[in-house]
Assembly symmetry: C2
Homo-oligomer: 208 residues x 2
């Protein structure tokens, strides 16, 4: 019912709403929020309506209430545990990123095949890949960030799925083949960049 597109916008709204809240605002109109997030006011209202969020005619929406409801939709009452598999450059960047916790996401462990990377004493320990099943089962981990090279992505994904992982955020530029109950999101930086170049060149051609 609620598709990825709506969810993405909801997360964008949340971001803007947080900023507004920090600035001391208490209410927001669909028009303001739309302008801030690049969405039409009608779309904002429709999204809110779809998620059961009510505003006041002429009074707009209460920011605290909105944030509370959005948090609720995303089950932000409990910390969501995630692992990182593959501790190359990108994996490390993800590990060191500080922005997860304030969104109730905690990276609890990382895994790699390279023994040189194992470090149990760190804030986030790095384990050998073989330990993945055991640790995932012990800690009830259902979500993983996959930052291994393209050539082993499918293989590693299979291991993760066998270990009970239900959702994978993959950075490998391949279409992972997984059973239907597994959710995959792929971020392919090179493709995004290429598609950006394609689009911006198109635009330039017309104008200058």
């Amino acid at each position: 019912m609620f598709v990825s597109r709506n969810i993405t916008r909801l997360l964008r709204y949340r971001n803007s709403l947080k900023r507004m809240q920090e600035l001391g605002f208490e209410t927001v109109y669909s028009y303001n929020l739309g302008k801030e997030t690049g969405v039409s006011p009608e779309q904002v209202r429709k999204d809110f309506s779809q998620f059961g969020i009510k505003g006041k005619k002429k009074g707009g929406y209460n920011i605290n209430e909105l944030l509370f409801t959005i948090s609720d939709i995303f089950r932000k009452d409990e910390l969501q545990k995630v692992i990182v598999v593959g501790t190359g450059n990108l994996g490390n960047a993800v590990l060191q990123y500080k922005g997860f916790l304030k969104n109730m996401i905690q990276i609890v462990a990382a895994f790699d095949i390279d023994p040189a990377k194992y470090k149990k004493k760190q804030t986030i320990p790095v384990y050998p890949l073989e330990k993945l099943p055991k640790i995932c089962q012990e800690l009830y981990i259902k979500t993983a960030i996959l930052t291994v090279p393209e050539s082993v992505a499918q293989e590693v994904a299979n291991i993760m799925i066998k270990a009970g992982i239900k959702g994978i955020l993959s950075f490998a530029p391949v279409v992972l083949k997984v059973p239907p109950h597994i959710t995959i999101k792929t971020i392919c930086i090179v493709h995004e960049l290429e598609s950006l170049i394609y689009q911006s060149v198109q635009v330039c051609d017309g104008s200058d």
Copy 2:
């Protein structure tokens, strides 16, 4: 006319086609390629037809020809120069990623405000932000990867646009406000992860 979605699929096709080529295959059918990329065969044919790519009835598509045509669409005859702005963890991961060159993308310079990061002698030099306009103009750079903190993303984007940048791949979780002739793509890792968790939890609720 050609929208982002098609472009994305075309890039996925290319990836699979390259692998097939390396394995020694010469032709491919819409059915094979669709299976490999998670796209319906009809969609594959429609995409190709839209981009003016012709196959042979009963004979499928010639892989070399396909790859040549796709390269042509993406103007891969010339190296596309890109800069990275912000050399934190993520910026560095991007700088060190080896996969750009084989897609005819070259990161020619990086920029940061932190003087400790300046390193001219590296393969990819890191310059102070103030040098951005000069270098962009000298090297005719039109595309940038933005990996600065959210709080300064808009400000830095403005500087880049003033320096002639036409396309920005941003990793900051904000909607950048830019003039209409500028193309923006935003990759928000936290949002992707949150949306993944939302979706995979939904799925799990039903099944186990």
